[in-house]
Amino acid sequence: MNRKITPYALVLPAWAWLALFFVVPIGGMLSLSLTTGNVITGFQQTFAVGNYVDAVSTYWEQILRSLFYGACATVLCIAIGYPMAYWIAFKGGPYKSTYLLLILLPFFVSFVLRTISWRFLLSDTGVVLGPLKSIGLVPEGFALLNSATAVILGLAYNFLPFMILPIYAVLERMDPRMVEAAHDLYAGRFQAFVRVILPVSLPGVFAGVLMTFIPTSSDYVNASVLGGTHNTMIGNVIQTQYLINNNYPIASSITFVLMGLLLIGIFSYARALGTERVMEVHA
């Protein structure tokens, strides 16, 4: 009897919290996205599907740009993070956890502050470009700041650890004897990697993609700080509509469009990768 009630008693507080402040708000936002009206007259529930049409037709450019930046940053994170996760998992020896701590250490400095530091590093007269320009290595008109490149680099920088950690986690758990077995079967280093290590690490890559693609494509801090006015993302639009224009119906419908697109992206990616393999991450 007691054994039956205990789990419910344990989960109840967290359930209540998540229901009240996560599940209900998502529903509330859905309802708000279908209203008409403004802050002064109040919002009436009219099931205005037109909000969605307006949102997409007005902001399709920012939506596409966000998905593109997010995808670029994610690919960059895989390219930079995979070799690093691989090396730490297989060659890190007793210092594995120290390397992981070093990767996480920059997180103690505020995300906003780190991004702003990049702004100064990348600025035309900054520490990086300034000296390069004065000795003539970089042409005078060259600028990194306020470009798409700067935004993508910033995103990859800020979310790289989220790619490294899950890939590291699967590679670290992998039995090294599997690689040895591959070598015994006359697989070269490349073959052993493609046929044995890479397939084993795919669930980690999937988890990494989830944890980088979703936040990078919905981020707006990097776009505001590093991208100038011509590289705004959908997050910037949502933030402006919510907090400055107070146009809540449109703001909520854009938010739902963003979430829907991300879900579609994630599900199609999971299917392409093979669903059962991906689910191993949660096991």
């Binding site: 996560f22 090396w87 070093l102 995300f111 780190r114 590093l121 938010t255 979430m259």
Partner: protein, 281 residues
């Protein structure tokens, strides 16, 4: 010590093994240089921040090196609004750590130890809460507060931070619960301990490292959060929000000082972690 495990006592069937290892030792370990290069990249803006907390800038913009000074450290608390923002950040992070620590630990314990109705649903909601974009979480909460007529401020921020941290704590604790031996608890009960005594004297001490790790994670997530906080904080300013607000008028060097101090806290925690790991071995 784990790296050389397979070298010395070569099994009878593998005579080629020692030679391969010898050759591997002579090969340059590019992976090491690569890893350190990426780490250097990760630390580059922090290096900039630390260096410029000692800079003596001429104008409002602290971006070119003018000379060394300790002035900003002596006057670290010269901006009352910055102090208030820092105090808000730290106190919200501590509250978040405490509340999501308790809620998340109970949830993680239930998920790791018991099977119950709604377990799959709980996992799904947790997964959704972790992977939902921050803009969506912030916007959804703000929508609800608006519709309920709640004024946003300090406590709505705490509520929001606890919401997105609970799942992280629960996952950390669940991972630890799964590896625990349930027979230790049974043994305690055989020795006459009631459920509460068993929990206090046996289960909790074994869970402690995970609870601690989850709590620290919650603290770090909370103090670092900008996006959700902008939506739900109303008139209350936190450290990231204050920095953001000053970007257009020029960031005072005190911000770099505070950033450096935060970074030092991280370094101390990391070193403590390494030392404790050594001692456990």
């Amino acid at each position: 010590m784990s790296t050389d495990v397979r070298t010395p006592p070569a099994a009878p069937g593998t005579p080629a093994e020692p030679r391969r290892t010898a050759r591997a030792r002579r090969r340059i370990d590019w992976g090491r240089y690569y890893t350190w290069a990426v780490l250097a990249w990760l630390f580059l803006p922090i290096l900039f921040m630390v260096a410029f907390s000692f800079n003596d800038p001429a104008g409002r913009h602290n971006i070119t090196w003018q000379g060394f000074t300790l002035h900003w450290y002596k006057n670290a608390f010269a901006y009352p609004e910055l102090n208030e923002a820092m105090f808000n950040s730290v106190s919200i992070a501590l509250l978040t750590m405490l509340m999501s620590g308790v809620l998340g630990t109970l949830l993680g314990l239930a998920l790791g130890r018991f099977s119950f109705r709604g377990k799959q649903l709980t996992n799904l909601v947790m997964f959704a809460a972790i992977s939902a974009p921050e803009v969506v979480l912030g916007a959804a909460l703000l929508s609800t507060f608006l519709m309920m007529g709640v004024t946003t401020g300090y406590w709505t921020t705490v509520v929001a931070h606890v919401m997105f941290c609970v799942s992280f704590v629960a996952i950390t604790v669940r991972a630890r619960v799964i590896t625990l031996d349930p027979r230790l608890e049974e043994a305690a009960q055989d020795l006459g301990a009631g459920p509460w005594t068993t929990f206090r004297l046996v289960t909790l001490p074994m869970l402690f490292p995970a609870v601690m790790a989850g709590g620290l994670l919650a603290f770090a997530l909370s103090i670092d959060d900008y996006i959700i906080t902008t939506f739900v904080s109303g008139d209350v300013t936190t450290f990231p929000l204050w920095i953001w607000g000053t970007t257009r008028v020029g960031i005072p060097p005190q911000v770099n000082v505070m950033g450096t101090l935060l970074f030092l806290v991280g370094v101390i925690l990391a070193v403590a972690n390494i030392v404790m790991a050594r001692r456990r071995r």
